[in-house]
Amino acid sequence: MGEKLLELKDLSIDYKIKDGYLSAVNKVNFTIDRGEVFAIVGESGCGKSTLAHSILRLLPGGNEIVTGEIHFKDEDLTLVDQERMEHVRGKEIGMIFQNPLDSLNPVFRVGDQIEEALLLDDMSEEDAYKRVIELFKDVKMPDAEERAKSFPHELSGGMRQRVMIAMMLSRNPELLIADEPTTALDVTIEAQILEILKQMKKEFNAAIMLITHNFGLVAEIADKIGVMYAGEMVEQGDVFEIFENPQHPYTKLLMKALPSGTKNDGRLQTIDGSVPRITEKKPECRFANRCPLADEKCRTENPPMEWISDTHYCKCFHLGEEEK
């Protein structure tokens, strides 16, 4: 792969709450190269969205404490000033969210909203309009010219997500953060949006950080996968390593919980218990209370990162052990 674009070093995010701190993200490390798709998977509440928002400094502000380093190209985004950050947002790192209707202004035509982003780059209005139509064609919007004049409520969910992608593409960001981009869409539309993302990666050599709970999506598009559980990245590796040789008990159980056959092929694996609320940082494995392999050591010590190959690591004391 290519040049390193984004690198997170020991990133932790804590929220201040009434009775102390809530650890939302704990010491997460990963890198994304240019032209690479890195997928972060995990269940709700595992901190994947918090992590993504923190890169663009989009957290609500006020009660969170971010520690660690976020290296983007050659600077640390945790240290740059507000003005520089505004330049990074959109221009260098683009972001699309789950629900496009939340991100579009309901009283402006969608074409004008994309033009607004383009005009930030000293473009004439005429050129900007032409560019909007081009972008709409890039994202395969049907009747591009007609649609540029539509209001958000006149478009279907798939079209709205296309508008968001067009808006994001308009400024050629080097990194795209997609937070559950297809969760609200039908499968047929989801497949179309995936195609657009794949094409972006190929044509513009864009790096994509994909946040999702959908393993199907990950299998279709990701190069690397990070599995998050209760704020920690418990396992990371390339897509084949994770799908074919998952090491962490959580990853293994999660894979078996996915319906892939019919009910006659056997019941689905379930994971008992629920995600703990981490309010104090103790040395322990956060999955220990639900893990079939957990022993005393797991409850008193932090499992280190064990490297299985150059690209694949897993935080677990019981590597290679099978469930009884």
Partner: protein, 328 residues
């Protein structure tokens, strides 16, 4: 699949909504949300209903539940003709059909305890209070929840627990049919697995008939015996899960199955046979097959007249002029 007794029979079912436009010269338009649907669900069968949003899945379920009146056609549920049912019959039916929705938090009363939420349908149907209380405990047991949750309020429970409560409440009146509208869409993967396993166990133990609505194709393949595929108000294909998944005959079913994500990165396909465009609108439906604009095999015939239902065999029906052959 056990005995072959029919539980739900739809015969040419239609549900049109009227849309009026214009103030002075009012124009009436019809939205044909469910159009000419015929299918039979046998006792103890799990039928999955799939389709894109706006294809009429939920409208169909609402008609079966008796929540909306049909425009035409016939619906027979457990031998009762829904269009001409007496009040007595309707009351009986309402005990026999239960429903579980997507978001359990929005259909449990936030100010009622779990116990009173579960007891309410029983009290409405005239079950004595003591008996209802006892039954509430039993159904909570059936969904594998501890009895201490009886006094909890919905906001104290997790999504998976709430969905269990919703299922428990649905079971309270000993229904024969359960309609599950996106039962696991709001849940995480590990919780989804628990709920799906629970639903299958209940279905097998109590010999229930399920109509499951979802857009998650992997879920539907897992849980159903038969799959019905809808497209813009029409039933395009209906057959056993195996036939629909491995040998789909309608071009739409095939594209739909192809767009389902495959859980194996080695099977990633570069050139997928993707459906182009959006499903379109129910307001603008031409004379021809509703799928004709997006169908790669469409001919003049498809654009001019709507195809009729053809039965490939007893268990497999398709609504297409050019059904596909065996898929290689």
């Amino acid at each position: 699949m056990a005995e072959q007794e029919t539980m739900i029979k739809l015969d040419g079912l239609k549900k049109y909504f009227v849309v009026k436009s214009g103030l002075i010269k009012t124009k009436k338009q019809y939205v044909r949300a469910v159009d000419e649907i015929s299918l039979e669900i046998k006792t103890g069968e799990v039928v999955g209903l799939v389709g894109e949003s706006g294809s009429g899945k939920t409208t169909l379920a609402r008609v079966v539940l008796g929540l909306t009146k049909m425009t035409g056609g016939d619906v027979y549920i457990d031998g009762v003709d829904l269009a001409h049912a007496s009040r007595q019959d309707m009351k009986k039916l309402r005990r026999e059909i239960a429903v579980v929705f997507q978001d359990p938090l929005s259909n449990l009363n936030p100010r009622q305890t779990v116990e009173s939420s579960i007891m309410r349908p029983m009290l409405i149907h005239g079950v004595p209070k003591a008996e209802a209380k006892q039954k509430a405990k039993e159904v909570l047991d059936m969904v594998k929840m501890d009895q201490r949750y009886l006094n909890s309020f919905p906001h104290q429970l997790s999504g998976g627990q709430l969905q269990r409560i919703a299922i428990a409440r649905a079971l309270a009146l000993n229904p024969k049919i359960m309609i599950l509208d996106e039962p696991t869409s709001a849940l995480d993967v590990s919780v989804q697995a628990q709920i799906l396993n629970l639903l299958i166990e209940l279905q097998e133990d109590l010999h229930l008939t399920y109509l499951v609505i979802t857009h998650d194709l992997n879920v539907i393949k897992y849980i159903s015996d038969k799959i019905a595929v809808m497209y813009l108000g029409r039933l395009v294909e209906f057959g056993t899960t195996e036939d629909i998944a491995k040998n789909p005959l309608h071009p739409y079913t095939r594209s739909l199955m192809a767009s389902a994500p495959v859980l194996d990165p080695r099977l990633r396909r570069e050139d997928k046979e993707l459906l182009k465009g959006d499903p379109g609108s129910l307001m603008k439906i031409g004379a021809g097959c509703r799928f004709a604009d997006r169908c790669p095999y469409a001919t003049e015939e498809c654009k001019n007249s709507e195809p009729e239902v053809t039965y490939v065999n007893e268990h497999h029906q398709v609504n297409c002029y050019h059904p596909l052959g065996e898929v290689k």
